[in-house]
């Protein structure tokens, strides 16, 4: 399989295409699009739908825009055609081993995603499972926003039981993991809505590393299912 198998919901794709979706989930969707030609096409279809909706907007006859067109005349003369941006510089070889994380996520990350687990950039939350020290809060549908981190799972290591109060999304950047619904490889998206119980464990020889998005709080549970 060379292209992803598990895709974001249409709700996310149409929200991304229309611009309704906020920055946090848009970062995950856009990075999935870099892996997934199929979803790029779906987003293009939804953009075309929005283009039709733009065309259908009723316009007032006298909208007073003639004056603006006149004012723009001078701007057009002054405006220079922008140079094409220089080709992207590839990060130094040491920045990532194996496959390069695509844009737009790459620019957000401080380091290679696979830095050693003992160099201080990872926090072990249970045996063989780490959260990145790197963390960003981006705008989301809830007031508290969407928290963006990396989640790392060693082969066979289970993510400890947890409860989330809102959406949780994972995008695989390296390796693979499994949950009760299936197996997730490079570029795949797993979406868990609030209140669902699920398990996950690393299912590749190398550590599985995912972009990990959370709306709301993540509460780890003890053996009896009580919040820690």
């Amino acid at each position: 399989m060379t292209v992803p198998f598990h895709h974001p919901d249409d709700q996310l794709l149409i929200g991304y295409a229309s611009g309704q979706e906020r920055a946090g989930k848009s970062l995950l969707v856009a990075t999935h699009l870099a892996y997934c030609p199929d979803c790029r096409q779906r987003v293009a279809s939804y953009e075309a739908l929005c283009g039709n909706w733009l065309e259908e907007l009723p316009c007032a006859g006298d909208d007073g825009l003639d004056a603006l067109l006149d004012r723009m005349d001078g701007l057009l003369t002054a405006a220079r055609i922008q140079q094409e941006p220089a080709p992207i510089e590839l990060p130094a070889a040491g920045r990532t081993c194996g496959r390069l994380v695509p844009e737009p996520l790459r620019s957000w990350l401080p380091d290679a995603i696979d830095t050693p687990t003992d160099d201080g950039s990872w926090r072990e939350i249970s045996k063989g499972v780490w959260l990145s020290g790197w963390e960003r809060t981006l705008s989301g549908t809830t007031k508290s926003g969407t928290t963006v981190r990396l989640l790392r799972m060693a082969s066979g290591a289970p993510v400890p039981a947890h409860r989330h109060t809102a959406d949780e999304l994972l995008l695989v950047l390296r390796g693979a993991f499994r949950d009760e619904y299936g197996s997730y490889g490079l570029g795949d998206v797993a979406h868990y809505v609030a209140g669902t119980d699920h398990y996950a464990f690393g299912a590749s020889e190398e550590d599985c590393i995912c972009l990990f998005l959370l709306d709301g709080d993540l509460i780890f549970l003890d053996e009896d299912g009580n919040p820690l």
Partner: protein, 207 residues
């Protein structure tokens, strides 16, 4: 304007018949030619024609999304200036002019009204998976999936499409939609769920 040189049928004395190429030209072709004229010749009358068509729509779009009049006018100016500057990057094989203008307006208003960056893939990124890397089976599936989505969009019930439009394009809350369209809140939610379900069924390999 290409002059029709097709053979005239016997007895056909004027060129205004339904079969003339001009009659078959679509709006999309005409806007594409205007953008092309802006890109190639810096044609200001072509730009003015694009402005007269799209500026009122961009203005309405921004006003509907909560901009005040002067911010909306600034956004219209920004978007149309981008049309002038980036005309050469418009690719008629990828999108219609209306869709292209929508994407510029969407990005500018996220930037200006929300003060946010819109994350987007970089088409020149060497780490992007090109469509050509897909296997022939995957490519065939993609073509089919795209057609199925088009079908799904075109066969949406009118009231479901309207809820989708208000929810995603105009960013109205369920409550606002219920009030504006004078239907109960539960009906709004049901229609939105049905609309998304209808689109989802066209998704390939849904796990």
């Amino acid at each position: 304007m290409p002059f029709s040189r097709g053979p005239l049928l016997p007895g056909t004395l004027n060129r205004d018949g339904a079969g003339s190429p001009d009659a078959a030209r679509t709006d999309a072709d005409q806007f594409g030619e205007l953008v092309h004229a802006v890109a190639q010749d810096r044609d200001r009358s072509a730009f003015a024609a694009l402005f007269r068509h799209f500026a009122p729509k961009i203005l309405q779009y921004c006003l509907r999304l909560g901009a005040d009049r002067s911010t909306a006018e600034e956004l219209v100016q920004d978007v149309m200036l981008t049309v002038w500057l980036k005309a050469a990057s418009f690719d008629p094989a990828q999108a219609t002019v209306g869709t292209w203008v929508f994407t510029i307006a969407r990005n500018r208003r996220i930037d200006r009204l929300r003060k946010e960056m819109r994350p987007a893939p970089d088409p020149d990124d060497p780490a992007m998976t090109p469509a050509s890397l897909a296997t022939p089976e995957e490519t065939a599936q993609m073509v089919q999936s795209s057609r199925q989505l088009q079908d799904a969009i075109e066969t949406l019930a009118e009231n479901q499409s309207e809820v989708l439009r208000r929810s995603y394009f105009l960013e109205q809350t369920h409550e606002e939609i219920a009030e504006d369209t004078e239907v109960p809140l539960g009906t709004v939610k049901t229609r939105l769920r049905l609309a998304l379900g209808h689109l989802k069924r066209s998704m390939r390999d849904k796990a």
